[in-house]
């Protein structure tokens, strides 16, 4: 689709402060270095004029609903960079001295223009040689590519009727969200993901607690209805309660393992109930060192996955032996989670001590899996 740049979407701030030699730019003729230059200069301007809310709103319009951007500062950078009209003018800024800028900023910005110009090159049939390497760069980085595809999708969605009406409205919230984004930490607490909102569901929580007293397992098995004790098979009492539906292994040392709960709070409640049962049986049970040892989650990405391809590209993390097990075992390093990935698209995540680790692991794996989706 042709993107004739709309003059009204040119930030008035830029138009006023930076000399533009060509009012109607031909997008795509600008080199990467010049794009960085624009960005840095623009950011300087923004920093200098914090109170100017209106010029920022056009930048937020073409991208996804701003609700998604409240907590993620990296998306904020992308949003700022994705406006194609920023890269309008010709090379008047090659003489600008950038030595005061730290290295990381320039490094980041080298990546960001890649994302935005990717959907530019998709829209324009002709592309100059400096930009011809950009699609390959972004294709290699699937994560960024995903970002750009979601951006370009929402770009096309919001284009039709909304530019004028949406412009004035998100002013205040945008300035708020901007400041909010600059101070809040990067990891979102809610599991809202860019990947169509698939959230892994917790299926099992394993926790341990110390009752801090020696227990007579025979007496417990005799006086409790919900207990089974077979010392020849296993040296612990297996006790079950109905609400929350869990199972506990109670050892004579006073240590207890509680399994089967679907959330951390349920696991804690169940462990307390077991401790109460033991108390009622006459033991001076306490509730010390409750700790969640393992959390298991599962979800469905809803498309089939080429496991053979995944094991080839991610060989150092994956283990796929169809003769032994139908799923691929992916050992993620950060966070330290083991994922079982099946050809149907179902994913099981285990080994987490915190709920956020499961969500983070799924966020990491989803772009990789999308790369192996075959239509």
């Amino acid at each position: 689709m042709a993107s004739a740049p709309r003059p009204e979407r040119v930030p008035r701030l830029l138009a006023g402060c930076l000399p533009l030699t060509r009012p109607t730019p031909t997008v795509g003729l600008v080199s990467m270095e010049q794009e960085e230059t624009y960005l840095e200069l623009y950011l300087d301007q923004c920093a200098a004029q914090d109170d100017l809310a209106p010029p920022r709103s056009p930048l937020f319009n073409p991208v996804a609903p701003y609700g998604m951007y409240i907590l993620n500062a990296s998306n904020l950078d992308t949003a700022l960079n994705s406006n194609p009209e920023v890269k309008e003018a010709s090379g008047d800024f090659s003489s600008v001295d950038l030595s005061f800028l730290p290295d990381e900023v320039t490094q980041e910005n080298k990546d960001q223009p890649v994302i935005s110009s990717r959907h530019e090159t998709e829209e324009n049939s002709e592309s100059q040689s400096p930009q011809s390497r950009l699609p390959s760069l972004s294709e290699q980085d699937i994560g960024l590519g995903l970002n750009s595809s979601s951006l370009s999708n929402s770009h096309s969605q919001l284009h039709p009727g909304d530019t004028d009406s949406v412009q004035p409205s998100p002013e205040k919230p945008n300035s708020d969200s901007l400041s909010l984004a600059s101070i809040t930490p990067m990891t979102p607490m809610t599991p809202v993901s860019e990947c169509c909102g698939i959230v892994p569901q917790l299926q099992n929580i394993v926790s341990t607690v110390n009752l801090a007293c020696k227990l007579d397992l025979k007496k417990i098995a005799l006086h409790a209805k919900n207990a089974e004790y077979n010392p020849k098979r296993f040296a612990a009492v297996i006790m079950r309660i109905r609400e929350p539906r869990t199972t506990a292994l109670i050892f004579s040392s006073g240590k207890m393992v509680c399994t089967g709960a679907k959330s951390e709070e349920q696991s804690r409640l169940a462990a307390r109930k077991y401790a109460r049962v033991v108390q009622k049986l006459g033991f001076p049970a306490r509730f010390l060192d409750f700790k969640i040892q393992n959390m298991v989650g599962s979800c469905d990405v809803r498309f089939p996955i080429r496991l053979e391809g995944l094991v080839l590209t991610h060989q150092q993390f994956s283990s796929y032996e169809p003769e032994l097990f139908p799923g691929l075992i992916y050992r993620m390093v950060k966070p330290r989670i083991v994922l079982l990935i099946f050809v149907s698209g179902k994913v099981v995540l285990t080994g987490a001590k915190e709920r956020s680790e499961i969500y983070e692991a799924f966020e990491n794996i989803y772009p990789i899996l999308k790369g192996f989706k075959k239509a």
Binding site: A224, P244, E264, R268, R272, K280, I305, E321, L324, V343
Partner: protein
Amino acid sequence: MPGRGRCPDCGSTELVEDSHYSQSQLVCSDCGCVVTEGVLTTTFSDEGNLREVTYSRSTGENEQVSRSQQRGLRRVRDLCRVLQLPPTFEDTAVAYYQQAYRHSGIRAARLQKKEVLVGCCVLITCRQHNWPLTMGAICTLLYADLDVFSSIYMQIVKLLGLDVPSLCLAELVKTYCSSFKLFQASPSVPAKYVEDKEKMLSRTLQLVELANETWLVTGRHPLPVITAATFLAWQSLQPADRLSCSLARFCKLANVDLPYPASSRLQELLAVLLRMAEQLAWLRVLRLDRRSVVKHIGDLLQHRHSLVRLAFRDGTAEVETRGKEPPRICPAPPVSTVTGDENISDSEIEQYLRTPQEVRDFQRAQAARQAATSVPNPP
């Protein structure tokens, strides 16, 4: 060296200090005559200061090859010879075994584990050279359980940090198909069932590739797919005579074990072929079913690339729309209002405890059961 003296034989002054097996000697560099020798052993007083070193702290453990390791290395070589592997494989497998043996966990492992380790080393070597050896085959040769084998295999791959490529499907097809006894007439194989090896191999290979493309191979054991493909290839080469033969009978007369999942793989493969047949106009009118499509496998395979693209471009789209709920919103997770710190009522706990009467009954029942089991069989 000047000042050191002259060689008694040739009279040169070029004397070099050299050591011969850790004994230092003064040697003439011209004629090689040994002028003086160093002391070979320590003196008695020196030896008195030496201390005993235990075997575990000496390097003896590393230098000597223990008997069980020797046995294991012999087993590795024997296994390679039984499987008729090329000679280079033997050396690689032996090297892997030795490498594994350096880890204390392996050295101290049970004999059963060391036996299975032999198989693992051979399997890894074969995989790295694209030699199609299945785990099932190794387990049969070692009389080992597949679960035991799998645990040791995963452990050793992790321990040695190896990069083991996946089983090469094409090679497996070739070796597996060649094992079917259908290429010569015999008392059990009538003439109309005999088939040319090359034709059958090429057609089986095409069918297996088709299965791979259409998601029948990913996540599944490879062998049953190949069995099903071989059967279909064989049937389609002479459908008139062979349609009456079932998969089980086919495996029996070919003298090959029929793996259990092969029949479901066969049905899946036939379903794929039927979908491809729908895309060909002249086959659509024939209204094929699972038996009649076999006659046209040759044509279908000839155009398989475009047919698969046509059949599954629409197919996967319809699968997706069927699978998605109309509004593409994921259902919100059930919000649990448990805080973990709620009050636990006494009555709830009491429901899990036995009343004193119940305890007495239970004890009586237990005692009765004990008495019953301890009494010997009635005469």
